[in-house]
């Protein structure tokens, strides 16, 4: 006698339409601060993913070139902790546009000048995206750490002085930031801080990593189990056009690198296949239209 089969939840998949965007976890999960909402719990001690070397980056760039990748994003952890970052950027900017996601704390005058030189030495865009979580220390510091607001804005000022206009990224941990009034307030704050053309990206929160403790984890209903996505909905997800590489291989996206099941292959060619959207964070990407791209 056989037992009745218990149906497993079925999840929709996203196809890889084209590998347009390659993310590089150049600082691994190592960071000089410990934000209370970090979805991969980056910290000075988190070595889940190690730093990448220049040689590793070169190998990924070579493979990406053959696949026609359109753009590159550098993240961590804190990318400026990796001393080879400027050389990595120089290699990258020879074959496409690059964006660096940073907390801004290590942007010295010399670093800002070097970024300006890199931007001037390429025909492609070099974009710097600085994370902040409020328009003053009272809103930002409880999330990103004591004293960080002033240090972030000092880094932004150094970029602006070097002629680089960063994008500021704020999460919804800053209450009201996503509303029309909140955005207007942020843009005004950035103008006041000396940015002539303020640029802002507001990101939803991911209930993973440190954020699970700060607020809450995903609940059972926050899932794409049993859902059907139209082709247009599936193609709107960032996993239909990007992959993430870390020192440990190719992952589906920048969000899920702490999930072993989200590791897809040890080469990009091996990761050009559909991905089953069985993770809770997939719910956020679909429902809130989240993309880690600028």
């Amino acid at each position: 006698m056989s037992l009745p089969a218990v149906p497993l939840p079925r999840y929709p998949s996203s196809p890889l339409v084209a590998l347009d965007t390659l993310w590089l976890q150049v600082a691994g999960t190592l960071c000089n601060i410990e934000c209370r909402h970090c979805f991969i719990s980056s910290s000075p001690n988190n070595r889940a993913h190690e730093m990448m070397t220049l040689a590793q980056v070169q190998r990924w760039l070579d493979e990406a070139k053959g696949l026609g990748v359109r753009e590159y994003y550098f993240t961590g952890g804190e990318p400026f902790l990796n001393r080879e970052l400027p050389d990595m950027l120089a290699l990258t900017l020879a074959q496409g546009p690059a964006t660096v996601l940073t907390n801004g704390l290590l942007i010295t005058e010399a670093a800002a000048r070097r970024l300006r030189e890199l931007a001037e030495g390429t025909e492609y865009s070099l974009d710097i995206r600085v994370s902040i979580d409020g328009w003053d220390a009272a809103t930002n510091d409880p999330i990103r750490g004591e004293g960080t607001f002033d240090r972030i804005m000092a880094g932004v000022a150094r970029l602006a002085a070097a002629g680089i206009n960063p994008v500021l990224t704020v999460t919804e941990a800053c209450e009201g930031a996503a509303s029309t009034a909140g955005r207007a307030r942020f843009l005004e704050f950035l103008r006041g801080a000396g940015l002539r053309q303020p640029r802002l990206k507001v990101m939803p929160l991911l209930r993973l990593g440190a954020e699970e403790t700060r607020t809450r984890a995903y609940q059972a209903w926050e899932s794409l189990a049993g859902r059907t996505l139209t082709p247009a909905e599936a193609e709107a997800l960032q996993c239909s056009s990007s992959r993430m590489v870390t020192a440990r291989g190719v992952y589906v996206c920048p969000i899920l690198i702490e999930s072993p099941a989200a590791r897809m292959a040890s080469s990009l060619a091996g990761a050009l296949r559909p991905f089953e959207l069985s993770f809770r964070a997939c719910y956020t990407c679909h429902e809130q239209g989240l993309s880690c791209r600028t």
Partner: protein
């Protein structure tokens, strides 16, 4: 993916003029057709987005139809013909979308039904030869009508892939409003023809058309400035109560809206 069964074959030429987004700038269109003739263009093709931004959208469509200009759909024609509620321009910033909506609502209200039906009959893409090279004409990119191909974010390896995937030597597109070209081999590459409807965010009020010309086995792309009576257009936009920000762009040559979609490099070149 665009419906490739709706690709027009236009023939082979030595010299063609290509018109990017016209955005209801019928005054610049008149000048562009005159300049194209002067330049000896054997054919003129419009790459979509006839409406938006400017006044009296029917005037542009009437000139195009009267002159029997071969044309492909832009996202505007696709949206207007399909009765969509918005232009599907592809912006992501709320302020950008606000202005895009004002622009679309005006154009939709002021475009005759018969013209909307004509837009629905236009092909999604077209192919033509320039000398020995095969040119694919599209609105945004060969893979998506509203994809933005900017100079600073369309790198050579990506261009190789587009040419391979879409079986072309040269891709000509518009949608961004900024003209540029990148050749990855002689006669092989991407030419963004820019816009005929709106200045190129360079502080000059003129707009641009593009001439492709056979050059031995290769193709040369020339961007030709199109001066026109921009003050008259600005006044007409004011009487139509179009946003003052649009009028400012016509008068100054600097973009005031739809800026957030610009990559870092292109953004830094403008005033706002």
């Amino acid at each position: 993916m665009p419906d490739v069964t709706r690709t027009a074959e236009l023939g082979t030429f030595r010299r063609v003029a290509l018109l990017g987004g016209i955005y209801s700038n019928y005054l610049a269109l008149g000048e562009a057709l005159r300049i194209a003739r002067e330049r000896g263009a054997e054919e003129v093709v419009a790459l979509g987005d006839f409406g938006a931004f400017g006044p009296h959208p029917d005037r542009t469509v009437e000139i195009l139809r009267e002159a029997r200009i071969p044309a492909i759909q832009g996202n505007y024609e696709e949206s207007l013909a399909g009765g969509a509620d918005d232009c599907h321009c592809g912006y992501t910033d709320p302020r950008d979308n606000l202005y895009a909506q004002a622009s679309y609502d005006y154009t939709r209200l002021n475009t005759a039904r018969e013209h909307k039906e004509w837009m629905g009959t236009l092909p999604a893409q077209a192919r033509l030869g320039v000398g020995a090279k095969r040119v694919l004409l599209c609105h945004g990119s060969p893979r998506k009508i509203n994809e933005f191909l900017w100079a600073s974010t369309t790198p050579a390896p990506f261009i190789h892939k587009l040419l391979r995937d879409h079986d072309a030597d040269l891709i000509a597109c518009t949608h961004t409003g900024l003209h540029w070209c990148r050749f990855v081999a002689p006669g092989r590459g991407v030419v963004n023809v820019g816009a005929l409807g709106r200045p190129a965010n360079d502080g000059r009020p003129n707009v641009w058309l593009t001439v492709l010309e056979a050059d031995g086995d290769a193709v040369r792309a020339e961007f030709v400035p199109v001066p026109y009576d921009h003050e008259r257009l600005a006044r007409e936009m004011e009487s139509e109560r179009l946003p003052a920000e649009f009028v400012e762009t016509v008068r100054t040559g600097w973009w005031t809206t739809c800026l957030e979609i610009l990559p870092a490099r292109e953004r830094a070149m403008g005033r706002h």
